[in-house]
């Protein structure tokens, strides 16, 4: 039974990460941008779990676990921020939220 | 390997058939129970005592015109009921009905698959179940449906927390995540069950309450509160798609009842030890049922009862004989106990539906966060201290 090379997992992780970055860069909806961040986090998690397999240690799982928890906390706060932004500016376009410029 | 696949496929077929039939008849049972609570006969026309009513319903639903409302988000609208049923069926896969048995020389479990994170799997799948309802509500492009979907998703994530905490307590007591081992630690009689032995009566009550909310049942059936939201998230659904949601609800009921049985009520373990004759209880019950049926067959209230009830009496007698046969007892008895306990809880679902009024929405959320969640937390804390103290 053929084994899956470790590098495939890592490459998959890189591809997902790059797609997350692409979403972040090219999308305008704040919600989609936020989801792109989650996608990147997931890609990183995959790397962690893969490393954990390679090193035969459980540590990578723990890092993944913490990333998940932080992502959950981030989602709670981030979505609350999105709600507030929408309430105050009635827009979900990320380019319209630029009052910090200059 | 091949045998494993074949056996699994056979089990799959059997379980799917039995379960889907059971779900169809669960609906009949519910209508009957509520009817009797309200002192009316219930379904009575199709078949003896309305026994063929489910069949008629299925035919009706399949042959109904499948309405496709305009301005719906078509892919998601179609995807939602599918998802709901899928998730409901998925969790059955890891629920064990009985111990290891030997059939035709092959050892196998009375379970589709045993994974050592069974409880987590069920939690994961049930947490996915909310999507079906949320998507259905959103894709319908209908404000009642949307509100129903929103309500239901909020309700389900809210009640998932106390439910998970309530599940954690017996897991702590039994020190496993595998559903089989969970049952193994409750072996013996009623005093060894987690509800008694582990002192998990509070967790059991929280679990049941949360289960009512998770399955959107009375008194927590806000998503489909017809006086406020027409029919809630499935307002725009008809025909088989509507039936899918219906089926998902009943499947979820079965799942949570089975979970409660496994977690708190000792799974397929008998009520009292075998050495005091618990093996003969099913036979006794069936004999009593048969005698009752035969008596009523002899003194029929209706014209047809003379034949149907007598027939049932004979069937019950045969069943009693089967249960008394030592050869099949090893796998039939656990099944009996499991079904009896699960059925009991399912009966409670119907009983409560027939008697309790509905909550208001803010009461519902307040109850989850301000009462159920703290109590579950406290229960978990106390349990963990006790477990740490004992071990």
């Amino acid at each position: 039974m053929a084994e899956v090379p470790i590098s495939w997992f890592l490459t998959l992780s890189a591809v997902l990460f790059a797609l997350g970055v692409a979403g972040f860069l090219f999308r305008r909806s704040i919600i989609t941008v936020f989801m792109s961040i989650e996608l990147m986090l997931n890609a990183v998690n995959l790397s962690f779990v893969t490393f954990s397999y390679q090193l035969k240690q459980v540590s990578g799982h723990l890092f993944t676990f913490f990333v998940m928890v932080v992502a959950a906390a981030e989602a709670a706060v981030g979505l609350a921020i999105i709600l507030t932004v929408f309430k105050n500016r009635s827009t979900l376009n990320i380019d319209d939220v630029d009052s910090m410029k200059n | 390997m091949d045998a494993f696949i074949v056996i699994t496929l056979i089990k799959l077929a059997v379980i799917a058939f039995v379960l889907l039939t059971a779900v169809a008849y669960l609906q009949w049972v519910e209508r009957k129970v509520i009817a009797h609570i309200q002192v009316r006969p219930g379904p009575y026309r199709v078949g003896p005592h309305g026994l063929l009513q489910p069949l008629a319903d299925v035919i009706k639903l399949i042959t109904k015109e499948d309405m496709m409302p305009s301005y719906v988000n078509r892919p998601i609208y179609l995807f939602a009921p599918f998802l709901a049923v899928c998730m409901a069926l998925l969790s059955i896969a890891v629920i064990p009905f009985g111990p290891t048995i030997v059939v035709a020389g092959y050892r196998t479990w009375m379970q589709l698959t045993d994974i050592n994170i069974g409880v987590l799997f069920i939690l994961a799948v049930s947490s996915m179940g909310v999507y079906g309802i949320a998507f259905a509500g959103w894709a319908s492009n209908n404000k009642y449906a949307l509100l129903g979907g929103l309500r239901s998703s909020a309700q389900m994530i809210s009640y998932e927390l106390p439910m998970a905490l309530a599940i954690a307590s017996p897991l702590l007591v039994s020190n496993t995540l595998s559903l089989r081992e969970l049952v193994a630690t409750q072996r013996g009689s009623i005093i060894h069950w987690n509800i008694i032995h582990g002192g998990q009566i509070v967790a059991f009550l929280i679990f049941i309450i949360a289960a009512f909310a998770e399955t959107n049942r009375v008194p927590f059936d806000l998503p489909e509160a017809e006086n406020e939201l027409v029919a809630g998230f499935h307002t725009e659904y008809s025909s088989m798609k509507f039936a899918s949601f219906f089926m998902a609800e009943y499947l979820n009921m079965v799942t949570v009842s089975a979970m409660a049985t496994l977690l708190f009520l000792g799974g397929w373990e008998p009520l009292w030890p075998v050495r005091f004759g618990s093996n003969y209880l099913p036979s006794v019950i069936f004999v009593i049922a048969a005698l009752t049926a035969l008596y009523h067959g002899a003194h029929p209230a209706h014209k047809l009862d003379k034949y149907t009830l007598t027939g049932f009496g004979v069937i019950f007698l045969i069943l009693a004989a089967i249960f008394a046969a030592p050869i099949v007892q090893s796998w039939l008895l656990p099944l009996f106990w499991f079904c009896a306990k699960t059925g009991g809880i399912l009966f409670a679902f119907m009983w409560i539906r027939g008697t309790l009024p509905r909550f208001r929405y803010d009461q519902l959320m307040g109850f989850a966060w301000k009462f159920l969640f703290p109590v579950a937390m406290l229960n978990l804390l106390v349990t963990s201290f006790v477990v740490a103290w004992v071990s």
Binding site: L25, I94, D95, D98, N102 | -
Partner: protein, 618 residues
């Protein structure tokens, strides 16, 4: 033996009162403040009794404070006979003065509300540092106590911080002491360089093998420190001004304990000094010069506390003479008796001031003998003691010093005897002006002070009277210091006693019998009087030679050139350059989140490339 308990108790008192005293009632503050010191005294008593004859030093090691290469400084306490004497003086007098303060500071509120607990906390903190100083087993721990008491002195002189003269006096004390501490620090550096250790035991055991020149240098540098702390020429100027603090502070810190730290330190370093005769000679000369000089100033002062302040400077000079001529035990003897009678004089003058509701000027007193007899009689005990009238305490110690001085160099003896006469004169003058004649003041509700103040006064009065033959300090310390071949010389003794009586008599003649005479003498010797009255213009001299140049130099060079030109230039330059760079970088801050993300991505690509180039990804 838990030596650490001795200083820790007052520290605990300080912490409790300092942190929570604001919420405590006055009674509770008093209980903690006085209780901690009295307990400390009790523990000293128990410790000394338990340790027996103390012929050899008993030390305790607590922890290693500094370790650097072969050089180690431990936090050690040790106790020998000298320390025991000092411990009794510090905790004993300290307890009495704490009790006294309860009465004296009772009305402390007004502009600095809550002054009472603050005062008590400072006093306890002072006790802690003083005890650390005394118990120290090496120079560095001693220095901790040394600096700590300096800090407390500063805090307590400036206790009435709403009055400018008080804060100025505090600053003056602190700054003048810095000069002395600078000398002390240099001495410590030199000790480390020479001996490789700061432990008393190590230093003193190795001292005989070190060249005289080095020891002289160390001795002189230590002396600089001692002159600062003990108010000797040329650094005595802070002590008279320190009277701006509350009177119990003057009694405890600026008469009985802290200012004697220099004497204690010098006596503690006797091994170094005995091997450096030139340094010893310097001590003796500075001591006798200070004694005489300060005594003459004391004649012309009108502030009762100033009189006693100069008296303190003068008496400290005596102690230095004792140490300088090699009579270490006599110096310590005088330290102890001086602690009794000078604390008494200050506390008594405090009681007088208390009775007169704050009046300090002798010219506004008079005839108080009848009105506050108890205060008068206790102060009279101190009066006879400081005047060297036998058989009271001052007589024994002063006589021991003068005797040793005569054997060392007769001129010191003669000048010392003259100073003794002057001392008797000005103390008598103060007493006569305050307690005899007619009342010249305006306050009419003159009353005896409360018992809580009078009890310490009485105890100190008994000690002043009998302390001389009760505590035979020279005999007790005889095993510690090298003994001098002293023969009792009744002629010398008689001469010094006669000088004391003469001083008292002249004062009686001038201020009681012929009150007009003082003024006529003052006017006939107008130039001399003005000179003495203005304290020989030393403060003005220092002001012109040291303070002014420093201030002007700071203003012209440090402020105008260094601060404005260099420091401000650098700071402003960095600021404006940053702003320029920021102006360029601001263009990147478009507010567009996605462009930020693009830059982040560019950065991560750069990092990966850099890692790949550097070979980190292998």
């Amino acid at each position: 033996m838990q030596l650490w308990l001795i200083p820790i108790l007052p520290l605990a008192g300080f912490l409790i009162n300092g942190l929570f005293g604001r919420r405590f009632s006055k009674g509770l503050v008093s209980v903690f403040a006085v209780g901690s010191v009295v307990l400390s005294f009790a523990w000293v008593l128990k410790t000394v009794l338990a340790l027996g004859d103390l012929n050899t030093a008993y030390s305790e090691h607590y922890f290693t404070w500094i370790q650097s290469g072969a050089f180690t400084v431990n936090c050690d306490f040790s106790i020998d006979r000298l320390t025991a004497v000092m411990l009794f003086v510090v905790t004993g007098i300290g307890s009495l003065i704490h009790i006294y303060s309860v009465g004296y500071m009772a009305h402390e509120h007004g502009p600095n509300h809550g002054g009472y607990y603050r005062f008590m906390a400072y006093l306890n903190l002072f006790m802690f540092f003083m005890l650390v100083l005394v118990l120290a087993a090496n120079y560095l721990v001693l220095f901790v106590g040394w600096e700590g008491v300096g800090l407390c002195s500063y805090l307590l002189i400036g206790f009435y911080f709403t009055k400018k003269f008080a804060t100025d006096a505090g600053n003056k004390a602190f700054i003048v002491n810095r000069i002395g501490d600078f000398g002390f620090s240099l001495a410590m550096f030199y000790i480390v360089k020479t001996f490789g250790s700061l432990d008393f035991g190590t230093v003193f055991s190795r001292a005989p093998g070190v060249s005289e020149g080095v020891l002289t240098l160390i001795g002189l540098l230590l002396l600089v420190g001692a002159t600062g702390k003990s108010a000797q020429i040329p650094l005595y100027v802070w002590l008279p001004d320190a009277m701006a603090g509350p009177t119990p502070v003057s009694a405890l810190i600026h008469a009985a304990t802290m200012v004697t730290a220099g004497v204690y330190m010098t006596a503690r370093s006797w091994v170094i000094y005995t091997h450096a005769p030139a340094a010893m000679e310097t001590i003796a000369v500075i001591g006798i010069a200070t004694a005489f000089f300060a005594a003459t100033i004391g004649i012309a002062q009108n502030d009762i506390k100033k009189v006693f302040a100069y008296s303190t400077v003068s008496q400290l000079g005596y102690m230095f003479v004792g140490v300088g001529v090699g009579a270490f035990s006599a110096g310590i003897y005088h330290l102890v008796t001086h602690a009794f009678f000078k604390a008494l004089l200050f506390l008594g003058s405090g009681a007088v001031i208390h009775s007169l509701s704050g009046e300090q000027d002798l010219r506004n007193m008079g005839g108080l003998r009848k009105k506050i007899p108890w205060t008068f009689w206790t102060m009279a005990c101190a009066w006879v003691a400081i005047s060297g009238i036998p058989p009271f305490s001052g007589f024994f110690s002063k006589d021991a010093i003068l005797l040793a001085a005569y054997h060392h160099a007769p001129w010191i003896y003669w000048l010392g005897t003259l100073t003794a006469g002057i001392t008797a004169f000005y103390v008598s003058r103060a007493m006569f002006l305050a307690f005899f004649g007619d009342y010249r003041g305006h306050e009419h509700h003159i009353h005896e002070s409360p018992p809580v103040m009078m009890v310490p006064l009485t105890i100190l009065a008994l000690l002043s009277l009998g302390g001389g033959f009760l505590f035979k300090i020279p005999t007790f310390l005889g095993t510690l210091f090298p003994s001098l071949e002293e023969s009792e010389d009744f002629t010398l003794m008689a001469i010094s006693v006669a000088a004391g009586f003469l001083g008292i008599f002249i004062a009686y003649f001038m201020y009681v019998a012929r009150p007009a005479m003082a003024d006529s003498i003052a006017s006939s010797l107008k130039g001399l009087y003005t000179l003495v009255y203005n304290k020989y213009f030393v403060d003005e001299l220092y002001d012109a030679t040291v303070v002014k140049p420093v201030v002007e130099g700071s203003r012209a060079v440090l402020w105008k050139v260094v601060d404005v030109g260099v420091i401000d230039g650098v700071a402003n330059g960095i600021g404006s350059r940053s702003r320029d760079i920021g102006g360029v970088l601001r263009l990147l801050q478009s507010g567009n989140i996605r462009s930020y993300a693009a830059w982040v991505l560019a950065g991560s690509v750069a990092v990966i490339v850099a890692l790949g180039v550097a070979g980190g990804l292998r």
